[in-house]
């Protein structure tokens, strides 16, 4: 079955695939996860705060983001941001954002919605006695969150956060709609150029599968270790 396959093309394109493609994919994944976590935590705190309006705004945002297909958000955002930028800054022409910045902002906004729900569950898993004890010691709301509640919530939710990041890692391949050279984009370009579609897409699938699998295995190990610490 593999007799007329040419896997030499994979070997030849390895440096391009990994230096260009995978670097982009990993960078986008890492920065999106980090940004998503920071904004997600902020949204979770808004939803859990006593202020009704703040909670409402955060709730609407999360529901809105979760009701749209990611690929549409990426697409629309890329075309809309220059015009929004123009409108905000009052420039005479649409401002240029660049594919990377545009996709990064999109992923951060999108992931923030998902991470916020994870962090919200994590914060709610902390018993009410913990913030009470921190307050009784004289810690302010911000200090209580920073030193007592969030570290515990983060630890409890770490496996779920990493699992979500693995999903994000796969989702970043959707930037192909912007013709960006991420890992899949790079593989795709080589495949088109050399007419070796099956080989290249097969290889790309194996790489995504292997990385995600290893990461999932790592999460299970981590879960076991956290279970012992508690």
């Amino acid at each position: 079955m593999f007799s007329n396959f040419d896997f030499e093309v994979v070997r030849r394109s390895l440096p391009y695939l990994f230096y260009e493609g995978m670097t982009f994919t990993v960078t986008l994944t890492a920065l999106s996860a980090l940004g998503g976590l920071i904004f997600g935590t902020a949204i979770a705190l808004m939803r859990l705060s006593g202020f009704k309006i703040l909670g409402r705004i955060a709730g609407v945002y999360v529901d809105f983001m979760r009701s749209l297909p990611l690929v549409l958000v990426i697409f629309w955002f890329y075309f809309l941001v220059p015009y929004i930028g123009q409108w905000v800054t009052g420039a005479s022409r649409p401002i240029s954002v660049g594919a990377f910045a545009s996709s990064l902002i999109t992923f951060i906004m999108f992931e923030a919605a998902y991470f916020s729900e994870i962090m919200r569950a994590g914060i709610q898993s902390i018993s009410r006695g913990q913030p009470a004890a921190a307050n009784a010691l004289g810690l302010t709301y911000a200090q209580t969150m920073r030193y007592v509640v969030l570290p515990q919530a983060f630890r409890n939710m770490l496996p779920v956060l990493i699992t979500q990041t693995i999903v994000l890692f796969q989702d970043t391949s959707l930037v192909y709609v912007l013709s960006i050279t991420d890992f899949l984009g790079a593989a795709s370009k080589v495949a088109q150029r050399d007419g070796r579609l099956v080989e290249m897409y097969l290889f790309a699938a194996i790489v995504y599968f292997t990385i995600s699998c290893v990461a999932s295995f790592g999460v299970r190990r981590l879960q076991a270790r956290i279970a012992i610490i508690r």
């Binding site: 913990q130 004890a133 307050n135 009784a136 004289g138 200090q143 030193y147």
Partner: protein, 243 residues
């Protein structure tokens, strides 16, 4: 030191937990609050450092009004030590860091100073060897002693205890009570919600008996144990002292 006057608290318009509670704790006094469960004693003690809000009346601690919106609550709370029924140590921090966190973040003590103070207090409650462990590795009695040390690390002017031995296995109750008795003998001002009548007899100056959100009896220890004036207190005492 603590002035509680005419405090009312409702959880909902139809459910009143505290009704016209008035009492006080003077400097150096040990006051034990007892009563059947659901009588509002824990709620009352939590009102003292504003962990629970209340709708009517006033509470002041060392002259500072707790229910005044302009009061700097974190600052006030840092001077009022509190020990909880379920210890509430921070599980993600080592024992010594449990003692240092608020010292450094609230009182702005240096790490060295906080550590020294923390170790000194751990030694006092007999847990110096446990400093580098995590709370989950300690027994309930040890955790509660750490919680007391953590509160003392802030150099409080008064200590509040909310059923400090209720969640403990029976054999661990005395190790916690011993620490509290020592504290009382040193002249610490204490307000203690507890069912431990032995502790009350030993160190309390006054006993407050609560039932259904009201302070039914507020009497010097000997009067309370000698002959309580109210029927409800008499019944309560005969029940818990009959065994």
């Amino acid at each position: 030191m603590i002035e509680i006057s005419h405090v009312d608290k409702w959880y909902s318009p139809s459910f009143q937990v505290l009704t016209d509670c008035t009492t006080s704790v003077t400097k150096g006094e040990v006051v034990v609050v007892c009563g059947p469960s659901g009588s509002g004693k824990s709620t009352l003690i939590k009102c003292v450092n504003a962990l629970e809000p209340f709708q009517k009346g006033d509470i002041s601690v060392d002259g500072t009004k707790v229910n005044d919106p302009r009061t700097n609550l974190p600052k006030l709370r840092s001077r009022v030590g509190m020990v909880f029924q379920h210890f509430e140590l921070f599980p993600h921090l080592k024992i010594i860091d449990n003692l240092c966190l608020a010292q450094q973040k609230v009182l702005d003590r240096s790490r060295d100073k906080a550590m020294a103070k923390g170790m000194q207090l751990l030694e006092r409650v007999g847990l110096k060897e446990q400093a580098q462990k995590f709370p989950a590795n300690l027994s309930g009695g040890q955790q509660q002693r750490v919680a007391i040390a953590r509160a003392l690390a802030m150099d409080p002017i008064v200590m509040l205890f909310d059923e400090p031995t209720s969640a403990l296995d029976p054999e661990m109750v005395s190790e916690v009570l011993d620490v509290m008795v020592d504290l009382a003998h040193e002249g610490m001002t204490m307000m203690v919600v507890t069912h431990e009548m032995g502790f009350a007899r030993k160190v309390a100056n006054r006993v407050i008996f609560m039932d259904r959100g009201e302070i039914v009896e507020d009497a010097p220890k000997d009067d309370f144990f000698g002959k309580p004036r109210s029927d409800r207190a008499q019944k309560f005492l005969s029940k818990i002292l009959s065994h």
